[in-house]
Amino acid sequence: MKISNFGIILYPSTRSLAYLHMLSTNNILPKEAIVMGKWPFLPNDILLEAKKYSYAEKYFSLNDNLELLIKHKDINLSLIDSTDINSQEIREALSKAECKNFIFTGGGILKKEVLSLDIDFIHVHPGDINYYRGSTCFHYSYLNKQSVSCTTFIMRKELDRGEVLDISHIDQNIFIENDQSFFIDYIYDPFIRSISLKKLFPHLENLKKKKKIRINEFYGNDHYVIHPVLRSLFIKKINNSYRMNDKKGIYIIDA
Protein backbone atom coordinates (compact mmCIF):
# COMPACT_ATOMS: atom_id res chain seq x y z
CA MET A 1 0.00 0.00 0.00
CA LYS A 2 1.42 3.36 -1.01
CA ILE A 3 0.90 6.27 1.36
CA SER A 4 0.58 9.28 -0.93
CA ASN A 5 0.98 12.93 -0.23
CA PHE A 6 -2.65 13.99 -0.07
CA GLY A 7 -5.30 14.17 2.61
CA ILE A 8 -8.93 13.26 3.05
CA ILE A 9 -11.61 14.71 5.29
CA LEU A 10 -13.94 11.89 6.26
CA TYR A 11 -17.50 12.87 6.99
CA PRO A 12 -19.43 9.93 8.52
CA SER A 13 -21.15 8.84 5.31
CA THR A 14 -21.09 6.04 2.79
CA ARG A 15 -19.38 8.49 0.41
CA SER A 16 -16.33 8.37 2.70
CA LEU A 17 -16.50 4.57 2.72
CA ALA A 18 -16.77 4.43 -1.06
CA TYR A 19 -13.74 6.71 -1.48
CA LEU A 20 -11.67 4.77 1.07
CA HIS A 21 -12.56 1.52 -0.62
CA MET A 22 -11.63 2.86 -4.04
CA LEU A 23 -8.32 4.20 -2.73
CA SER A 24 -7.37 1.00 -0.90
CA THR A 25 -8.31 -1.30 -3.76
CA ASN A 26 -5.96 0.79 -5.90
CA ASN A 27 -3.23 0.46 -3.26
CA ILE A 28 -3.18 4.12 -2.31
CA LEU A 29 -3.94 5.68 1.04
CA PRO A 30 -3.76 9.31 2.17
CA LYS A 31 -0.96 10.64 4.30
CA GLU A 32 -3.43 12.60 6.41
CA ALA A 33 -7.04 11.88 7.35
CA ILE A 34 -9.33 14.13 9.34
CA VAL A 35 -12.19 12.04 10.70
CA MET A 36 -15.36 13.89 11.58
CA GLY A 37 -18.02 12.77 14.06
CA LYS A 38 -18.57 9.35 15.52
CA TRP A 39 -17.52 6.16 13.76
CA PRO A 40 -18.89 3.53 13.23
CA PHE A 41 -22.05 5.29 12.13
CA LEU A 42 -24.08 3.04 9.84
CA PRO A 43 -27.53 2.04 11.09
CA ASN A 44 -28.43 -1.61 11.12
CA ASP A 45 -31.11 -1.41 8.43
CA ILE A 46 -28.56 -0.24 5.86
CA LEU A 47 -26.19 -3.02 6.87
CA LEU A 48 -28.96 -5.60 6.53
CA GLU A 49 -29.81 -4.37 3.05
CA ALA A 50 -26.09 -4.31 2.16
CA LYS A 51 -25.71 -7.90 3.28
CA LYS A 52 -28.81 -9.08 1.43
CA TYR A 53 -27.71 -7.49 -1.85
CA SER A 54 -23.93 -8.03 -1.49
CA TYR A 55 -23.11 -4.34 -1.80
CA ALA A 56 -19.58 -4.93 -0.47
CA GLU A 57 -18.81 -7.40 -3.25
CA LYS A 58 -20.50 -5.39 -5.99
CA TYR A 59 -19.67 -1.82 -5.00
CA PHE A 60 -17.69 -1.00 -1.86
CA SER A 61 -17.06 -2.18 1.66
CA LEU A 62 -19.37 -0.81 4.33
CA ASN A 63 -16.87 -1.41 7.05
CA ASP A 64 -17.02 1.82 9.06
CA ASN A 65 -14.58 1.04 11.89
CA LEU A 66 -11.63 2.95 10.37
CA GLU A 67 -9.44 -0.13 10.75
CA LEU A 68 -8.02 0.46 7.30
CA LEU A 69 -6.49 3.77 8.42
CA ILE A 70 -5.69 2.91 12.02
CA LYS A 71 -3.51 -0.05 11.11
CA HIS A 72 -1.20 2.15 9.02
CA LYS A 73 1.08 4.00 11.37
CA ASP A 74 2.27 6.32 8.61
CA ILE A 75 -1.17 7.88 8.27
CA ASN A 76 -1.68 10.96 10.38
CA LEU A 77 -5.17 10.59 11.78
CA SER A 78 -7.05 13.49 13.42
CA LEU A 79 -10.32 12.68 15.15
CA ILE A 80 -12.71 15.61 15.36
CA ASP A 81 -16.07 15.55 17.17
CA SER A 82 -17.69 18.10 14.90
CA THR A 83 -19.44 17.13 11.67
CA ASP A 84 -19.46 20.72 10.46
CA ILE A 85 -16.82 21.27 7.81
CA ASN A 86 -16.61 24.95 8.78
CA SER A 87 -16.09 24.34 12.49
CA GLN A 88 -13.09 25.79 14.25
CA GLU A 89 -11.83 22.27 15.07
CA ILE A 90 -11.68 21.37 11.38
CA ARG A 91 -10.05 24.67 10.47
CA GLU A 92 -7.40 24.10 13.11
CA ALA A 93 -6.74 20.55 11.91
CA LEU A 94 -6.46 21.76 8.34
CA SER A 95 -4.16 24.63 9.19
CA LYS A 96 -1.79 22.15 10.87
CA ALA A 97 -1.92 19.76 7.91
CA GLU A 98 1.10 19.18 5.72
CA CYS A 99 -0.82 18.09 2.63
CA LYS A 100 -2.03 20.72 0.20
CA ASN A 101 -4.68 18.58 -1.47
CA PHE A 102 -7.62 17.18 0.48
CA ILE A 103 -10.48 15.05 -0.78
CA PHE A 104 -13.81 16.39 0.46
CA THR A 105 -16.58 13.96 1.42
CA GLY A 106 -19.32 16.25 2.75
CA GLY A 107 -20.24 18.09 5.92
CA GLY A 108 -21.72 21.27 4.51
CA ILE A 109 -20.80 23.98 2.08
CA LEU A 110 -17.26 25.22 2.54
CA LYS A 111 -17.18 28.79 3.75
CA LYS A 112 -14.70 31.52 2.92
CA GLU A 113 -12.60 30.90 6.06
CA VAL A 114 -11.90 27.30 5.05
CA LEU A 115 -11.52 28.03 1.35
CA SER A 116 -9.00 30.73 2.09
CA LEU A 117 -6.63 28.17 3.66
CA ASP A 118 -3.76 27.25 1.37
CA ILE A 119 -5.40 23.92 0.50
CA ASP A 120 -7.12 22.56 -2.59
CA PHE A 121 -10.33 20.74 -1.74
CA ILE A 122 -11.29 18.08 -4.27
CA HIS A 123 -14.98 17.43 -4.68
CA VAL A 124 -16.90 15.07 -6.94
CA HIS A 125 -20.26 16.47 -7.95
CA PRO A 126 -22.83 13.94 -9.24
CA GLY A 127 -23.61 15.82 -12.44
CA ASP A 128 -22.09 17.53 -15.45
CA ILE A 129 -21.28 20.91 -13.99
CA ASN A 130 -21.92 22.56 -17.34
CA TYR A 131 -25.60 21.89 -16.95
CA TYR A 132 -26.52 20.65 -13.51
CA ARG A 133 -26.13 22.03 -10.04
CA GLY A 134 -27.63 20.45 -6.91
CA SER A 135 -27.15 17.26 -4.95
CA THR A 136 -29.88 15.20 -6.62
CA CYS A 137 -29.01 16.31 -10.13
CA PHE A 138 -28.22 12.83 -11.48
CA HIS A 139 -31.92 12.04 -11.15
CA TYR A 140 -32.70 15.03 -13.34
CA SER A 141 -30.02 14.27 -15.91
CA TYR A 142 -31.16 10.68 -16.23
CA LEU A 143 -34.83 11.64 -16.54
CA ASN A 144 -34.00 14.39 -19.03
CA LYS A 145 -31.41 12.69 -21.21
CA GLN A 146 -30.85 9.16 -19.88
CA SER A 147 -27.37 10.24 -18.86
CA VAL A 148 -25.45 10.39 -15.59
CA SER A 149 -22.18 12.25 -15.16
CA CYS A 150 -19.82 13.30 -12.40
CA THR A 151 -17.56 16.33 -12.30
CA THR A 152 -14.38 16.31 -10.24
CA PHE A 153 -13.20 19.77 -9.38
CA ILE A 154 -11.32 21.92 -6.92
CA MET A 155 -13.82 23.83 -4.86
CA ARG A 156 -13.83 27.58 -4.90
CA LYS A 157 -15.95 30.11 -3.06
CA GLU A 158 -19.15 29.46 -4.99
CA LEU A 159 -21.08 26.23 -4.57
CA ASP A 160 -20.28 23.58 -7.19
CA ARG A 161 -17.93 25.89 -9.05
CA GLY A 162 -14.21 25.79 -9.33
CA GLU A 163 -11.39 24.40 -11.40
CA VAL A 164 -12.70 21.38 -13.27
CA LEU A 165 -10.34 18.40 -13.28
CA ASP A 166 -12.51 15.79 -14.97
CA ILE A 167 -16.02 15.07 -16.22
CA SER A 168 -16.94 11.37 -16.26
CA HIS A 169 -19.94 9.86 -18.00
CA ILE A 170 -21.55 6.90 -16.35
CA ASP A 171 -23.75 4.06 -17.49
CA GLN A 172 -25.39 1.30 -15.54
CA ASN A 173 -27.11 -1.98 -16.09
CA ILE A 174 -28.79 -2.67 -12.79
CA PHE A 175 -32.18 -3.69 -11.50
CA ILE A 176 -33.24 -2.13 -8.21
CA GLU A 177 -35.55 -4.36 -6.18
CA ASN A 178 -38.46 -2.95 -4.20
CA ASP A 179 -36.76 -3.40 -0.83
CA GLN A 180 -33.49 -1.69 -1.88
CA SER A 181 -34.68 1.50 -0.22
CA PHE A 182 -31.18 2.75 0.62
CA PHE A 183 -29.49 1.82 -2.61
CA ILE A 184 -29.66 5.08 -4.57
CA ASP A 185 -28.59 7.48 -1.83
CA TYR A 186 -26.20 5.29 0.12
CA ILE A 187 -24.63 3.13 -2.57
CA TYR A 188 -25.29 4.38 -6.11
CA ASP A 189 -24.56 8.06 -5.45
CA PRO A 190 -21.27 7.50 -3.54
CA PHE A 191 -20.22 4.74 -5.92
CA ILE A 192 -20.53 6.86 -9.07
CA ARG A 193 -18.52 9.58 -7.34
CA SER A 194 -15.85 7.08 -6.29
CA ILE A 195 -15.34 5.62 -9.76
CA SER A 196 -15.04 9.16 -11.09
CA LEU A 197 -12.56 10.09 -8.39
CA LYS A 198 -10.44 7.07 -9.32
CA LYS A 199 -9.51 8.77 -12.60
CA LEU A 200 -7.77 11.44 -10.56
CA PHE A 201 -5.63 9.07 -8.48
CA PRO A 202 -2.48 9.50 -10.61
CA HIS A 203 -2.68 13.25 -9.99
CA LEU A 204 -3.60 13.39 -6.31
CA GLU A 205 -0.12 14.31 -5.17
CA ASN A 206 0.25 17.16 -7.61
CA LEU A 207 -2.95 18.64 -8.93
CA LYS A 208 -1.12 21.62 -10.40
CA LYS A 209 0.21 19.41 -13.18
CA LYS A 210 -3.24 18.08 -14.05
CA LYS A 211 -4.68 19.77 -17.09
CA LYS A 212 -7.90 21.56 -16.21
CA ILE A 213 -11.05 21.48 -18.25
CA ARG A 214 -12.05 24.88 -19.43
CA ILE A 215 -15.60 25.84 -18.62
CA ASN A 216 -16.32 28.91 -20.70
CA GLU A 217 -19.69 29.69 -19.36
CA PHE A 218 -21.31 28.11 -16.36
CA TYR A 219 -24.89 27.83 -17.54
CA GLY A 220 -26.17 25.00 -15.41
CA ASN A 221 -29.37 25.82 -13.58
CA ASP A 222 -29.94 25.14 -9.91
CA HIS A 223 -31.65 21.80 -9.49
CA TYR A 224 -33.33 21.71 -6.13
CA VAL A 225 -33.90 18.40 -4.36
CA ILE A 226 -36.07 16.41 -6.69
CA HIS A 227 -39.61 15.51 -5.66
CA PRO A 228 -39.84 11.91 -4.34
CA VAL A 229 -42.29 10.90 -7.05
CA LEU A 230 -39.64 11.75 -9.65
CA ARG A 231 -37.04 9.82 -7.64
CA SER A 232 -39.41 6.91 -7.86
CA LEU A 233 -39.77 7.46 -11.59
CA PHE A 234 -35.98 7.57 -11.95
CA ILE A 235 -35.72 4.10 -10.37
CA LYS A 236 -38.49 2.82 -12.61
CA LYS A 237 -36.65 4.08 -15.69
CA ILE A 238 -33.33 2.60 -14.54
CA ASN A 239 -35.13 -0.74 -14.12
CA ASN A 240 -36.82 -0.42 -17.51
CA SER A 241 -33.41 -0.03 -19.14
CA TYR A 242 -32.06 -3.18 -17.47
CA ARG A 243 -30.72 -5.71 -19.99
CA MET A 244 -30.81 -9.10 -18.35
CA ASN A 245 -28.27 -10.76 -20.64
CA ASP A 246 -25.68 -7.98 -20.58
CA LYS A 247 -22.95 -7.33 -18.07
CA LYS A 248 -24.37 -5.92 -14.85
CA GLY A 249 -22.90 -3.01 -12.95
CA ILE A 250 -22.20 0.71 -12.85
CA TYR A 251 -19.26 1.91 -14.91
CA ILE A 252 -17.60 4.85 -16.60
CA ILE A 253 -18.11 5.17 -20.32
CA ASP A 254 -16.03 7.17 -22.74
CA ALA A 255 -17.46 10.55 -23.60
Binding site: Y140, V225, I226, S232, L233
Partner: protein, 181 residues
Amino acid sequence: MNAKNIYSYPVLDISTYLDEFINQRKLFLKETRHSIDSDINNIKYEVNKVIDSYISLNKSSSSIINRLIKLINNFESLDEHDTKLIMYLKRYFELHRALYTEFDSKKKKLDATSQKNDINMLFTVSYLLQLMYTKTNDFNYLSTSIKINEFILTDFTLHELKDYPLVKYLINHELLIFEKL
Protein backbone atom coordinates in the same frame (compact mmCIF):
# COMPACT_ATOMS: atom_id res chain seq x y z
CA MET B 1 -47.55 12.65 1.56
CA ASN B 2 -47.23 15.92 3.36
CA ALA B 3 -46.06 19.05 1.57
CA LYS B 4 -44.33 20.16 4.76
CA ASN B 5 -42.09 17.13 4.40
CA ILE B 6 -38.50 17.91 3.79
CA TYR B 7 -37.91 16.50 0.36
CA SER B 8 -34.28 15.58 0.84
CA TYR B 9 -33.46 11.92 0.65
CA PRO B 10 -36.63 10.21 1.84
CA VAL B 11 -36.53 6.44 2.13
CA LEU B 12 -39.02 5.40 -0.50
CA ASP B 13 -41.21 2.39 -0.77
CA ILE B 14 -40.19 1.96 -4.38
CA SER B 15 -42.95 -0.47 -5.25
CA THR B 16 -45.85 1.71 -4.20
CA TYR B 17 -44.81 5.38 -4.14
CA LEU B 18 -45.56 6.29 -7.74
CA ASP B 19 -48.93 4.52 -7.80
CA GLU B 20 -49.92 5.95 -4.43
CA PHE B 21 -49.07 9.44 -5.64
CA ILE B 22 -51.22 9.07 -8.75
CA ASN B 23 -54.08 7.51 -6.78
CA GLN B 24 -54.06 10.39 -4.31
CA ARG B 25 -54.30 12.89 -7.15
CA LYS B 26 -57.14 10.91 -8.72
CA LEU B 27 -58.89 10.76 -5.37
CA PHE B 28 -58.69 14.55 -5.08
CA LEU B 29 -60.35 14.95 -8.48
CA LYS B 30 -63.01 12.43 -7.55
CA GLU B 31 -63.74 14.16 -4.25
CA THR B 32 -64.00 17.52 -5.98
CA ARG B 33 -66.24 15.95 -8.63
CA HIS B 34 -63.96 16.77 -11.51
CA SER B 35 -64.17 14.62 -14.60
CA ILE B 36 -60.77 13.28 -15.64
CA ASP B 37 -61.81 12.84 -19.27
CA SER B 38 -60.21 16.12 -20.36
CA ASP B 39 -57.24 16.12 -22.67
CA ILE B 40 -54.43 18.70 -22.57
CA ASN B 41 -56.05 20.95 -25.21
CA ASN B 42 -59.33 20.87 -23.42
CA ILE B 43 -57.60 21.87 -20.17
CA LYS B 44 -55.80 24.70 -21.96
CA TYR B 45 -59.10 25.97 -23.32
CA GLU B 46 -60.84 25.81 -19.94
CA VAL B 47 -57.91 27.41 -18.11
CA ASN B 48 -57.75 30.28 -20.60
CA LYS B 49 -61.48 30.84 -20.23
CA VAL B 50 -61.24 31.10 -16.44
CA ILE B 51 -58.14 33.29 -16.41
CA ASP B 52 -59.60 35.64 -19.03
CA SER B 53 -62.50 36.32 -16.75
CA TYR B 54 -60.06 36.81 -13.86
CA ILE B 55 -58.20 39.44 -15.88
CA SER B 56 -61.36 41.32 -16.76
CA LEU B 57 -62.35 41.40 -13.09
CA ASN B 58 -58.89 42.49 -11.91
CA LYS B 59 -57.88 44.89 -14.66
CA SER B 60 -56.65 47.58 -12.32
CA SER B 61 -54.76 45.23 -10.04
CA SER B 62 -51.00 45.72 -9.78
CA SER B 63 -50.53 42.07 -8.90
CA ILE B 64 -47.96 40.06 -10.80
CA ILE B 65 -50.70 37.48 -11.39
CA ASN B 66 -52.02 39.55 -14.29
CA ARG B 67 -48.61 39.48 -15.94
CA LEU B 68 -48.29 35.73 -15.38
CA ILE B 69 -51.73 35.12 -16.83
CA LYS B 70 -50.66 36.97 -19.96
CA LEU B 71 -47.70 34.61 -20.15
CA ILE B 72 -50.09 31.66 -20.03
CA ASN B 73 -52.20 33.21 -22.77
CA ASN B 74 -49.17 33.87 -24.96
CA PHE B 75 -47.06 30.96 -23.88
CA GLU B 76 -45.79 30.16 -27.36
CA SER B 77 -44.09 33.55 -27.62
CA LEU B 78 -42.26 33.78 -24.29
CA ASP B 79 -39.10 35.86 -24.44
CA GLU B 80 -35.92 35.66 -22.37
CA HIS B 81 -37.26 38.04 -19.71
CA ASP B 82 -40.42 35.99 -19.30
CA THR B 83 -38.42 32.80 -18.86
CA LYS B 84 -36.16 34.52 -16.34
CA LEU B 85 -39.21 35.64 -14.38
CA ILE B 86 -40.58 32.08 -14.29
CA MET B 87 -37.19 30.78 -13.16
CA TYR B 88 -37.05 33.45 -10.47
CA LEU B 89 -40.48 32.45 -9.13
CA LYS B 90 -39.52 28.77 -9.28
CA ARG B 91 -36.39 29.45 -7.27
CA TYR B 92 -38.29 31.63 -4.84
CA PHE B 93 -40.78 28.89 -4.06
CA GLU B 94 -38.03 26.29 -3.65
CA LEU B 95 -36.17 28.50 -1.18
CA HIS B 96 -39.06 29.99 0.78
CA ARG B 97 -42.01 27.64 0.27
CA ALA B 98 -43.98 30.80 -0.41
CA LEU B 99 -45.03 33.13 -3.22
CA TYR B 100 -46.32 36.69 -2.94
CA THR B 101 -48.75 38.51 -5.18
CA GLU B 102 -46.78 41.73 -5.72
CA PHE B 103 -43.50 42.17 -7.55
CA ASP B 104 -41.28 45.10 -6.70
CA SER B 105 -39.96 46.04 -10.12
CA LYS B 106 -37.34 48.42 -8.70
CA LYS B 107 -35.82 45.79 -6.41
CA LYS B 108 -36.67 43.09 -8.93
CA LYS B 109 -38.03 40.74 -6.32
CA LEU B 110 -41.29 39.61 -4.80
CA ASP B 111 -42.67 41.95 -2.20
CA ALA B 112 -42.82 39.92 1.00
CA THR B 113 -45.32 42.36 2.51
CA SER B 114 -47.94 41.50 -0.12
CA GLN B 115 -50.39 38.60 0.03
CA LYS B 116 -48.68 35.32 0.76
CA ASN B 117 -49.59 32.09 -1.01
CA ASP B 118 -52.69 33.37 -2.75
CA ILE B 119 -54.28 30.44 -4.56
CA ASN B 120 -54.30 32.24 -7.93
CA MET B 121 -50.60 32.99 -7.60
CA LEU B 122 -49.75 29.40 -6.70
CA PHE B 123 -51.87 28.15 -9.59
CA THR B 124 -50.37 30.46 -12.23
CA VAL B 125 -46.78 29.67 -11.29
CA SER B 126 -47.37 25.93 -11.10
CA TYR B 127 -49.29 25.85 -14.38
CA LEU B 128 -46.57 27.88 -16.11
CA LEU B 129 -44.00 25.39 -14.83
CA GLN B 130 -46.09 22.54 -16.21
CA LEU B 131 -46.23 24.32 -19.57
CA MET B 132 -42.46 24.82 -19.42
CA TYR B 133 -42.04 21.11 -18.78
CA THR B 134 -44.28 20.15 -21.71
CA LYS B 135 -42.32 22.53 -23.94
CA THR B 136 -38.81 21.46 -22.88
CA ASN B 137 -39.17 18.00 -21.26
CA ASP B 138 -36.98 19.35 -18.47
CA PHE B 139 -37.95 17.70 -15.19
CA ASN B 140 -36.51 20.63 -13.26
CA TYR B 141 -39.75 22.52 -14.00
CA LEU B 142 -41.98 19.56 -13.26
CA SER B 143 -40.41 18.85 -9.88
CA THR B 144 -41.17 22.34 -8.55
CA SER B 145 -44.66 22.29 -10.03
CA ILE B 146 -45.40 19.02 -8.20
CA LYS B 147 -44.13 20.59 -4.97
CA ILE B 148 -46.41 23.62 -5.44
CA ASN B 149 -49.37 21.34 -6.17
CA GLU B 150 -48.63 19.32 -3.06
CA PHE B 151 -48.46 22.56 -1.10
CA ILE B 152 -51.86 23.64 -2.46
CA LEU B 153 -53.48 20.28 -1.65
CA THR B 154 -52.13 20.40 1.89
CA ASP B 155 -52.62 24.05 2.72
CA PHE B 156 -56.14 24.47 1.40
CA THR B 157 -59.11 22.40 2.51
CA LEU B 158 -61.04 20.24 0.11
CA HIS B 159 -64.00 22.51 0.80
CA GLU B 160 -62.00 25.56 -0.35
CA LEU B 161 -60.73 23.81 -3.46
CA LYS B 162 -64.07 22.29 -4.48
CA ASP B 163 -65.28 25.55 -5.97
CA TYR B 164 -61.97 26.47 -7.48
CA PRO B 165 -61.83 24.90 -10.94
CA LEU B 166 -58.26 26.01 -11.76
CA VAL B 167 -56.68 23.71 -9.19
CA LYS B 168 -58.70 20.79 -10.53
CA TYR B 169 -57.37 21.50 -14.02
CA LEU B 170 -53.88 21.83 -12.62
CA ILE B 171 -54.03 18.39 -11.00
CA ASN B 172 -55.72 16.93 -14.05
CA HIS B 173 -52.95 18.37 -16.20
CA GLU B 174 -50.33 16.86 -13.88
CA LEU B 175 -51.99 13.44 -14.18
CA LEU B 176 -51.95 13.71 -17.97
CA ILE B 177 -48.24 14.52 -17.84
CA PHE B 178 -47.65 11.44 -15.68
CA GLU B 179 -49.62 9.26 -18.09
CA LYS B 180 -47.02 10.04 -20.73
CA LEU B 181 -43.96 9.31 -18.57
